[in-house]
Symmetry: C2
Subunit: 339 residues, 2 copies
DNA sequence: TTGTACGCGTTATCAA
DNA sequence: TTGATAACGCGTACAA
């Protein structure tokens, strides 16, 4: 790889002039510019970012800490982030945490070593220790997917999402609903769901929760097996509907129900969360709560770049986006039409 | 952020000694080591990679060029790659090409500027120009997902995959098959499929191809719409089976068939490709051709690290992995049992 | 075992 | 408009 110094020699100018030509920062004589550019072209000069970073104390690197890239929902976020970052001269270093706070910690450590200018983080949990570490560092941070009091954040209200689902199912007459998720008490989707029940004076039945872990990569299988066991053990009607905290789990439940010859939604209604691009392909089409995933990704990176590039230095900003019920046949039945 | 120089001052030693302590390369007196380490701990010293890269002419950075991260199949590859790389002290810069060779080119350019030690590339097409660029550079490269004569490569034979599908469908008596993909003549899955037909003297019918583009992000919808139109226009039996070159497209077709009240597989059989973790959640469970995606990811990064770390300098190696037919109800019907 | 000194490829400051 | 020259933080050859 050719360097500025070498180009300077060939061109018979100083290395500083080459730098000026390439950065376009200050004025250079047309002659010098001409000669330099020709040599640059000819030798396919590429600047050395490491050197540039060192000199400018800026890496144009953004760290992205995310629980599971293979989850299409997160994948879409990555895609948006990478695109928008690229347009602005930034690159993304990706860190898959598996939802493990230990991994998160070591990854943040290497991101710091890499001198990243900023970090987008989808924390493993709302009290991930890295959030504290980040706060004590001077790395610009945006928390994605959940609200945060000290950082910029972009999120969809899970509480509201859970409430919407509850209202939808209650409206259809379901009072015995099986909840499928990672935590019965700490997952806001579930909290919101139950909130509506208690507000309406409806008692949420005991033993209607299936714990399938949070970021288990084999979520489909987990949900499938748990669902199978549940519906084998309980009489039909013990639960007339199932709400899973994400679509992926709903796939597993769907499979289990099919296996047991239970009809959806006649025997058991099913509703997921995220409305990934696969929900509508499911059979019957899956009701779900859609999150504006492109917007989440885009707004997140935009907020970060706003601080990095435009040097915005105001108070912490949070963007709350609205979840949207997408009712399809898996809860509505055939009369759903073809939405 | 504290630097070696500052640590050296505090410790009353030279910066070189601090470097030695931290790298553990050469011998240092226990006393010096002790003092330095304490200060390092206390101030939470983090090495500056940019500086290190510059000095060592090594970035410990690997570029990953991939068509669509939001596709779960690729997502899984990213996951494996990131993990294995991380274990060996390397980080991943991710580049989403959208299957666009222009984007590929500019991304490779910035990867070069970033001084990446190696590149894993899933090319937009088999003759992506960046392959030439890479060959003329000194960047270690592994081509993933397709064979290559000049680079290390890891792939599953698409030709063989297509053949397997043809054999499976012919075995079930389907001779009129609708093919759904990006290219009728250049996609090896389709080429292999037709190969079997002609070997057996069976003429593949005209007008049995639906072009839905390659990396269109809205593949499900594309397939859905195309499928809908196709099955509306042709009499039942014009095609008795559908083969889509990936599962995502199969989701769309599944939706279309359902909409038209065509039963799977009684009216139309359906088979996909990739066997993503979602296939088994589909209803009926989707037959597909599985690719050992974890192995693809793992082997790819391993081959690259082998050259980077172990300095392997032998001939180009290619790893061909075998596709595997996973027959489920969408082709076999209810007698499929519960595989 | 330690310190000095140089180089890595840039940016940026200062005179000229 | 240009060219020296000093950083930037680290690795390392060399001498002590």
């Amino acid at each position: 790889m050719i360097t500025m110094k070498e180009i300077a020699e060939i061109a018979g100018v100083s290395q500083a002039t080459v730098s000026r030509v390439l950065s376009g920062s200050s004025a250079v004589s047309p002659r010098a510019r001409q000669t330099v550019m020709e040599i640059v072209q000819k030798h396919d000069y590429t600047p050395n970012y490491s050197a540039r970073n060192l000199a400018m104390d800026q890496s144009f690197l953004i760290g992205l800490i995310i629980p599971d890239i293979s989850n299409p929902f997160f994948g879409e976020i990555v895609r948006q982030v990478e695109r928008e970052a690229g347009r602005n001269g930034y690159n993304i270093i990706i860190c898959n945490s598996d939802g493990d706070i230990t991994k998160e910690r070591s990854q943040l450590q290497t991101l710091r070593a890499r001198q990243v200018d900023g970090v987008l983080v989808i924390p493993a949990s709302s009290n991930s220790p890295i959030l504290t570490t980040l706060y004590n560092s001077d790395i610009h941070t945006v928390v994605v997917t959940q609200p945060h009091s000290r950082f910029d954040s972009v999120y969809v209200s899970h509480l509201e999402g859970g409430r919407i689902v509850a209202q939808h199912l209650l409206g259809l007459g379901h009072t015995r609903v099986l909840l499928v998720g990672d935590s019965e008490s700490e997952n806001d989707k579930i909290v919101g769901f139950k909130q509506v029940f208690s507000e309406k004076g409806i008692i949420f039945p005991e033993d209607h929760f299936l714990n399938i872990g949070a970021w288990d990569h084999d979520l489909v299988k987990q949900a499938y097996l748990s669902g199978l066991e549940y519906f084998r053990r309980h009489r039909p009607g013990h639960a007339t509907a199932v709400f899973t905290v994400n679509d992926v789990a709903a796939f597993g439940i769907n499979h289990a129900l099919k296996e047991l010859n239970l009809r959806i939604p006649d025997d058991v209604a099913l509703i997921g969360f995220d409305d990934t691009f696969l929900s509508q392909g499911l059979n019957p089409p899956l009701s779900s709560v859609s999150q504006p995933v492109e917007e989440i990704g885009r707004r997140s990176i935009e907020m970060l770049l706003d601080r990095l590039i435009r040097k915005f230095d105001g108070d912490v900003r949070s963007v709350q986006l609205n979840p949207l019920l997408v009712a399809r046949e898996s809860t509505l039945g055939r009369q759903a039409g073809h939405a």
